[in-house]
């Protein structure tokens, strides 16, 4: 069993806004092992971006506040660091790439200079060496004519190339973990395929772990080893990618899958939407966050928050759902290992 590079336990983050306090992340725990890709899946507002941004320490702390939890990178605590200490690991041991490369890169600096800057600040390299290394990194991310491109400005690049440049920058200090926050959401599908392929390849050659944030289950299916499904600030299910897709153990996971067309869905089988909207995080529900939209909701679900139940020990498949209770009713298509005599539910 490889060791975990990152261990997050019970992370909670709140924001003070003039409408009240938003409890954006409510007790999130997960690990990432070396060389593994963890996908965090959820819809807008579920807290997935806030989770990773607070790990990186890039949430402005006056409105934001980490109200609980521990995060350890290679055994060292990374929350509650001073900004000097945080600078040493941010960008160095953990790299991050963002959704919109156009706004994430400085439009007034050349691409080469921006990558070189990382090296000069963190590795103390001289300007010329850093720039040469920047060109190497651009080549690694398959940007053609890298030496010419390094002298260009972001506006001269297309979306896909900018994303490659951003990946190159994040690799500059050989991080052991790369956090990718919706890296391909703004890209065309053919470019997305290229970028995802690039990320997989880099993961192999650099032996990096990746946390991939996305709302697209298809991207998860392509890239992830493990998946954590988030809803209303909590992880409702986590496990290997096969378990999530073929042995879904939470109604929200089922709901997400049923709302997407796959190549097997013909027009006779309708897409099943999830009705309603996510709960108000100013006053989050005391019970299960998914209660108001769950087609299998039970009376207890409203006020009692289900604990994270371990379903399969060796793969750490967990689910937060009262339907996992041995006495709970049978739900078609839901993986309920506590109910002994039933046969395995339909996979996918």
């Amino acid at each position: 069993m490889t060791d975990s590079i990152l261990e997050v336990t019970d992370l909670s983050v709140e924001f003070a806004t003039y409408g009240g306090r938003v409890k954006a992340v409510r007790g999130v725990s997960f690990d990432v092992k070396a060389g593994e890709t963890l996908a965090i899946v959820g819809e807008s507002g579920c807290g997935k971006s806030v989770t990773v941004q607070s790990l990186m320490g890039i949430i402005p702390m006056p409105p934001g506040e980490i109200t609980g939890g521990v995060a350890k990178l290679n055994g060292k605590d990374i929350l509650g660091l001073t900004s000097k200490e945080a600078n040493e690991f941010r960008g160095v041991k953990i790299g991050m790439i963002f959704q919109d490369p156009m706004t994430s890169l400085n439009p007034t600096m050349t691409i080469g200079d921006q990558i070189a800057e990382t090296l000069m600040v963190h590795r103390g390299m001289g300007k010329k060496d850093a720039f040469d290394r920047a060109i190497e990194l651009l080549e690694k991310t398959k940007i053609s004519e890298a030496s010419k491109r390094a002298k260009q400005y972001p506006f001269e690049f297309s979306g896909g190339m900018l994303q490659r440049a951003m990946i190159a920058q994040s690799l500059a200090c050989n991080p052991s973990l790369l956090i990718a926050d919706e890296p391909t959401t703004a890209l065309d599908v053919t470019i997305q395929a290229q970028i995802l392929e690039l990320m997989s390849e880099l993961q192999r050659t650099e032996n990096m772990s990746i946390i991939l944030i996305t709302h697209d289950l298809a991207v998860v299916a392509r890239m992830a080893d493990r998946v954590a499904v988030m809803y209303a600030g909590q992880i409702v299910e986590s496990g290997t990618v096969d378990e999530i897709f073929y042995e879904s153990a939470h109604p929200y996971t089922l709901g997400l899958r049923a709302a997407m067309p796959s190549n097997k869905t013909t027009r006779e089988k309708k897409l099943t939407p999830i009705l309603g909207s996510p709960p108000d995080l100013f006053h989050p529900p005391t019970g299960c966050g998914y209660f108001a939209r769950c087609p299998y909701a039970m009376k207890s679900c409203e006020k009692m928050l289900p604990p994270e139940c371990l379903l399969t020990a060796e793969s750490n498949h967990q689910s937060r759902c009262w339907l996992q209770h041995p006495d709970a009713p049978r739900v078609q298509e839901l993986f309920q290992p506590a109910r002994t005599q039933e046969e395995a539910p339909d996979a996918g």
């Binding site: 003039y18 807008s44 507002g45 009705l275 309603g276 909207s277 996510p278 209660f291 108001a292 939209r293 769950c294 087609p295 299998y296 909701a297 039970m298 009376k299 207890s300 679900c301 409203e302 009692m304 604990p307 139940c309 371990l310 379903l311 399969t312 020990a313 009262w322 996992q324 209770h325 041995p326 006495d327 709970a328 009713p329 290992p337 506590a338 002994t340």
Partner: protein
């Protein structure tokens, strides 16, 4: 199997679970919060901004000051109160009634020589300098004891205690006989401290020693004066020595004795008239111009905007002067109209640009295309869709245009290119106040305070409005 046992033990610890189904989804589409229109939301935001609300109150206060003030404080701003020239702000002063002035004969001693009998080396100062009777602003009569060897006396008056023989102050006059030991001062006496000094002379030189008396005359007024100023009526019976309240000048008076408060109110009218009417006019024009250019786009837009650029390049001050000449207004005449016209003619491009930008942006929004598809005509689109969405920008522009115009007017009047006396405006009041800045600072302080407060209040209000209106209702979840 071990897994499910684990699970069972984990969960079975929780008892009292009710597994019956629950209806949840029907409330999914409810919106619980009350509906807020754009303006209501903006108002709520504005109220939370303390600075903006305070500024709003100041602006409202100013409006009341200008419009209602003259009704409550009915003092003619042109009326001169000669008793109280350059009066600092104070509580109402009182004056004593006196008879009309009659010439004072003075005191001439009989048994004292008019010419000195012998010339002394050192001529002492007179002694026992005192006032002959109560000193009033009508006249101050002083009397002293004669000096042996004096052939005359020189009388000086200063506003502070003299420090040396060279600091005696204003020479009021000289008595040319040793036995004339009195003097009546009638020169611009105010109700303040004076220091009279007497120096003996022997007819040729003045001595080096002097005596000083501090006198604070009381304010005096004659019956005829009081009558003419409406302080008493025909029938009132007043005796000399009785006091009467003079006109109250809560903010003091200026160098001509005019009531500052009344002038400030009148000045407010002029300043605010220009400061509000001019921006209103040029913002209106700018809206049409910019809206037109933005909506139709293309070459028309290009031409219109180039013309606007040209107007921006014109020098404002030069045009002011040109207009003044063109309108045939000489120096000394009030220049309100040319200033208004110059402001309007030269101030519109900024608004036009802003509105044009806003219109260009709105044109790309989906709802414009949707409305076109539904068969909307151009004027419907403009009135129903585009203008309501530019209202925010327009309002903010207006709120910032007003203080700019007020300040411009004040500045021009200050340098003499704007409103001319006797029409008061805050700027010209500042101009007059600068002359007496060191001795009577209140004449400069009040108009300057009013200008600064007004401009600041409008600017802060504009800031608050921008914030309140601009955080548009784009709540993305």
């Amino acid at each position: 199997m071990t897994d499910s046992t684990l699970l069972k033990t984990q969960l079975q610890a929780v008892s009292n679970l009710d597994f019956s189904p629950s209806d949840t989804v029907q409330s999914a589409e409810q919106i619980s919060r009350p509906s807020l229109s754009y303006w209501q939301d903006a108002w709520i935001r504005l109220k939370k901004n303390t600075r903006a609300i305070v500024s709003l109150y100041i602006v409202i206060g100013l409006a009341l000051f200008t419009l209602v003030g003259p009704i409550l404080w009915q003092v003619d701003p042109a009326l001169q109160d000669l008793n109280q020239l350059s009066q600092a702000p104070s509580l109402p002063k009182q004056a004593i009634f006196v008879e009309e002035h009659t010439r004072w004969e003075g005191i001439v001693l009989e048994n004292f020589p008019a010419e000195p009998e012998a010339f002394l080396d050192v001529l002492p100062a007179p002694t026992n300098l005192r006032t002959a009777e109560a000193a009033t602003t009508q006249a101050v009569r002083i009397v002293w004891d004669p000096v042996v060897g004096a052939g005359g006396y020189a009388v000086y008056r200063n506003q502070h205690l003299p420090e040396s023989i060279n600091d005696l102050g204003l020479p009021l006059g000289t008595k040319l006989a040793g036995n004339e030991v009195s003097y009546e001062d009638r020169l611009n006496i105010e109700g303040r401290d004076y220091y009279y000094s007497i120096v003996s002379t022997d007819g040729y030189d003045e001595s080096d020693s002097y005596i000083t008396l501090k006198v604070t005359p009381d304010l005096a007024i004659t019956k005829t004066e009081a009558l003419s100023r409406g302080l008493i009526t025909e029938e009132s019976i007043v005796a000399n020595g009785e006091t009467i309240d003079l006109e109250f000048h809560p903010f003091g008076t200026d160098y001509l004795g005019r009531d500052m408060l009344a002038r400030l109110m009148e000045g407010a009218r002029v300043s605010l008239f220009i400061g509000i009417v001019a921006p209103f006019l040029y913002v209106m024009f700018g809206i049409f111009y910019g809206g037109f250019a933005g909506y139709f786009g293309g070459n028309l837009d290009a031409i219109l905007m180039r013309f606007a650029d040209f107007v921006v390049a014109l020098p404002f001050l030069l045009f002011m002067i040109l207009f003044k000449i063109a309108f045939g207004i000489g120096p000394g005449e009030s220049g309100v109209l040319p200033m208004l016209i110059a402001l309007v003619l030269l101030g519109w491009p900024a608004t036009a640009r802003l509105v044009r930008g806003q219109v260009l942006q709105i044109r790309t929004q989906g709802y414009i295309e949707a409305a076109r598809l539904l068969g909307a005509k151009d004027h419907y689109l403009i009135i129903r869709h585009i203008i309501p969405n530019t209202m925010g920008v327009i309002l903010v522009t207006l709120t910032f245009a007003v203080p700019a115009a007020i300040f411009t007017e004040a500045f021009l009047s200050f340098i003499g290119m704007g409103v001319a006396p006797p029409t008061p405006s805050w700027g010209s009041m500042c101009n007059e106040g600068v002359k007496t800045m060191l001795s009577h600072p209140h004449e400069l302080f009040f108009p300057a305070l009013f200008i600064s407060t007004t401009v600041l209040a409008f600017n802060l209000l504009g800031d608050g409005l921008t914030e309140a209106l601009d955080s548009r209702m784009r709540s993305r979840e």
